[in-house]
């Protein structure tokens, strides 16, 4: 009889353990990091970045993480993160978080008066990969809202490979510079160079200039 009880207890314990094990959160969540270029005339494009972020907020669900950071003269810094959030598992709370996030971003965009003197895209990417890896999300995206023209401050070292395993880097709204109009190969070379860096770092590269096609940006569930 005791033997039977012990056996039943063991079976129940095993079942409970299995259920608890099954109940763990699966790494299916998404994490998105939006890098906004704030250099020179690109500040004028920030309204578009706001639109993208609004689209993202409407797309992301409970458990997903999102962050917005600016590309500054030295972007590898926590200070450059404008807003970040991991949405609560309760939909109503997640909605409140989204509202707060939007407000933060609106305040920031309004406050931007002058662009930064230099453009440290690599630093921003490093910061993004660090953030995304920390979230432990299943799908990781870095959205780079920039003309992709890197202009480093003297003394900054960025010519090393960036670890971007499992991260999808999407260049958004890559505006053409005046020199690109003279020789479009500059534009193509710039894109190619970034693609090479991202792919060599283990990431995936994509370019999306037509913001009307935002629905293709993030894998729909």
């Amino acid at each position: 009889m005791t033997y039977l009880r012990v056996n039943t207890g063991l079976i129940i314990a095993a079942l409970l353990l299995t259920l608890v094990g099954c109940g763990e959160t699966r790494p299916q969540h998404r994490a998105v990091y939006l890098l906004m270029d704030t250099s020179g005339t690109y500040t004028e494009e920030l309204a578009k970045a706001q639109g993208i972020m609004n689209y993202l907020l409407a797309t992301l669900d409970s458990g997903d993480a999102v962050a917005v950071a600016r590309i500054d003269s030295g972007s590898f810094s926590e200070k450059d993160i404008v807003a970040k959030a991991t949405f609560d598992e309760r939909p109503s709370v997640a909605n409140q978080q989204k509202r707060a996030f939007k407000q933060q971003l609106d305040v920031y965009v309004k406050s931007v008066r002058h662009g930064s003197r230099h453009t440290d895209i690599t630093g921003g990417l490093l910061q993004a990969s660090e953030f995304l890896n920390e979230t432990g999300a299943g799908e990781k995206y870095v959205l780079v809202f920039s003309d992709l023209e890197e202009d480093l401050e003297k003394g900054h070292i960025r010519d090393f490979p960036i670890a971007l395993e499992g991260i999808r880097v999407v260049a958004l709204n890559v505006t053409k510079l005046r020199t690109d109009n003279i020789d479009p190969r500059d534009y193509l070379r710039r894109l190619e160079a970034w693609q090479k860096r991202v792919v060599e770092g283990g990431g995936q590269w994509a370019v999306m200039n037509d913001l009307e096609r935002l629905d293709q940006l993030i894998a729909a569930r």
Binding site: G23, T25, H29, D61, S62, S92, N95, R99, K102
Partner: protein, 481 residues
């Protein structure tokens, strides 16, 4: 490798192939009887195996048919037993409800009869009219008044007295007649009442007769099923198939109802158990919503079982009435609580949808517009959330029907499959036999040249033997010696 083989005998492919052909034909000719025996043995074994298999399948089909018949018979018997039981309950209720009042009805009728009797007796007490009053008056009036004034006066007086006595008597008679009429008219409603009471009794007896004839019908059918009559079994099979399709249809409808129910509560469930947790590949909130629906269906099953509408759990059916009634109340209460929870979840879903819509509008830069009559869909969702669990509770009825008819349908399907397999086995055996015959003929066709040669030699030998026989003495048969 094949090209090497082709050129084994000669560099010339045609010559080499011819040699190969010769070798093959020779080999086939030499091994003809063995090959034929092998092929025939193979055909025989396959044919016999197929026949054996077909016989085994036919036997299995026969057994299955008997089992199906037994299942069908038992189901039909049970169904009829239940119907007869129900009819007896009805008869019992008629007897207890209607005929239990029969003594009082009888007393009522006998009271009415005695009242009528009494009134009747009172009515016949009326004194009859004196028979000769008119004659007396006429006789007195006709007596001649012969001059004597005194006599005439006396006669007139007598006449007057008689007349007034007649008038009084008539008046008394009329009065007593009126009383009799009054008594008789008072009897009329009593007659009517009596007639009504008797009609009532007749109706009750008639309804009992109806029930008795229904029971008779059921009993006849029951006997037919017990005896395994072909017609009754065919009727049961057809009824089973109809039940199967109808219950399947209702179950499909119930599944759709369940899906709508799921949609109502799955999203708000993420507010309660979280929207980021998964069990396997499914969201925990979805599983929680499904569990609620399943529990509702289970409660519905228990409720209908306790009410003895379904008979899926014999243990519940055999509980004592007190316990069963308790179970009815418990399951009904749980079902109501779950329905209330669903209604509140449906309301929450509406609120969440509103909140999400407002967020989307604000993200799109549009001002949030408050829609008119928003309460209508909210109330509609709440009502749906409350009603659907009760509607799903009735799934137990088609489910029981589906389970019972599935046994028969599956049995019939298995029987048909076995029958087809047996036919296929038989066909396979016959086909293999014919194929082997064909192969043997084909074999002989390949070696027709040496065969023809052999036949020619045999014929020559036969001819020679015949000519030798004709040279020997006639009538003497050496073989007999």
């Amino acid at each position: 490798m094949p090209t090497e083989l082709i050129h084994l005998w000669s560099d010339n492919a045609a010559a080499s192939l011819a040699i190969w052909l010769f070798v093959l034909v020779l080999a086939m000719y030499l091994g003809r009887s063995q090959s034929h025996a092998l092929l025939q043995a193979l055909a025989r074994s396959i044919y016999r195996s197929a026949r054996l298999g077909a016989r085994a399948l036919s036997r299995a089909q026969q057994q299955l048919r008997e089992r199906n018949r037994a299942v069908l018979q038992s189901a039909g018997e049970q169904q009829l037993q239940r119907a007869i039981e129900r009819e007896f309950v009805r008869v019992n209720s008629i007897i207890t409800r209607d005929l239990a009042h029969y003594p009082s009805l009888h007393r009522q009728i006998s009271d009415t009869v005695s009242k009528i009797e009494k009134d009747y007796e009172a009515a016949i007490d009326t004194p009859p009219m004196p028979p000769a009053w008119v004659e007396v008056v006429e006789t007195v009036a006709a007596i001649p008044r012969s001059g004597d004034a005194a006599v005439a006066k006396i006669l007139d007086k007598i006449h007057e007295t008689v007349e007034s006595a007649q008038a009084e008597s008539l008046q008394a008679y009329q009065k007593s007649s009126q009383v009799s009429h009054k008594l008789l008219s008072r009897m009329q409603p009593l007659w009517r009442k009596l007639d009504g009471d008797l009609a009532d009794v007749k109706q009750r007896v008639d309804s009992l007769e109806d029930r008795a004839s229904v029971i008779d019908g059921f009993m006849t059918e029951y006997r037919a099923i017990r005896s395994g009559a072909q017609e009754a079994m065919a009727r049961l099979t057809s009824s089973s198939l109809t039940q199967f399709f109808v219950s399947a249809l209702v179950l499909i409808i119930a599944v759709f109802g369940g899906l709508i129910n799921f949609q109502l509560i799955a999203m708000p469930m993420s507010e309660m158990v979280g929207g980021t947790s998964y069990i396997g590949a499914m969201k925990t909130s979805d599983i929680a919503a499904l569990v609620i629906i399943m529990v509702e269906i289970a409660m519905g099953l228990f409720l209908l079982e306790s009410l003895r509408i379904t008979h899926l759990f014999p243990m519940i059916g055999s509980m004592d009435d007190k316990m069963r009634r308790r179970m009815v109340w418990i399951t009904f209460t749980i079902l109501t609580v779950l329905a209330t929870i669903e209604a509140s979840l449906a309301y929450m879903r509406d609120l969440l949808a509103l909140d999400r819509e407002a967020l989307k509008q604000s993200l799109a830069g549009a001002s949030v517009v408050e829609a008119n009559f928003r309460w209508i869909p909210s109330v509609g969702q709440m009502v749906m959330g409350f009603v659907l669990p009760f509607a799903l509770a009735f799934v137990a009825i088609p489910l029981e029907s589906f389970i019972q008819s599935t046994r028969t349908v599956l049995g019939m399907f298995a029987e048909a499959t076995l029958k087809v397999l047996a036919v296929v086995c038989r066909l396979l055996g016959a086909v293999v036999q014919q194929m082997v015959r064909f192969i043997i003929h084909l074999y002989d066709l390949v070696i027709m040249v040496p065969l023809a040669f052999e036949r020619w030699i045999s014929a020559g030998r036969a001819r020679m033997a015949k000519s030798n026989d004709s040279r020997t003495e006639p009538g003497l048969d050496y073989s007999e010696v």
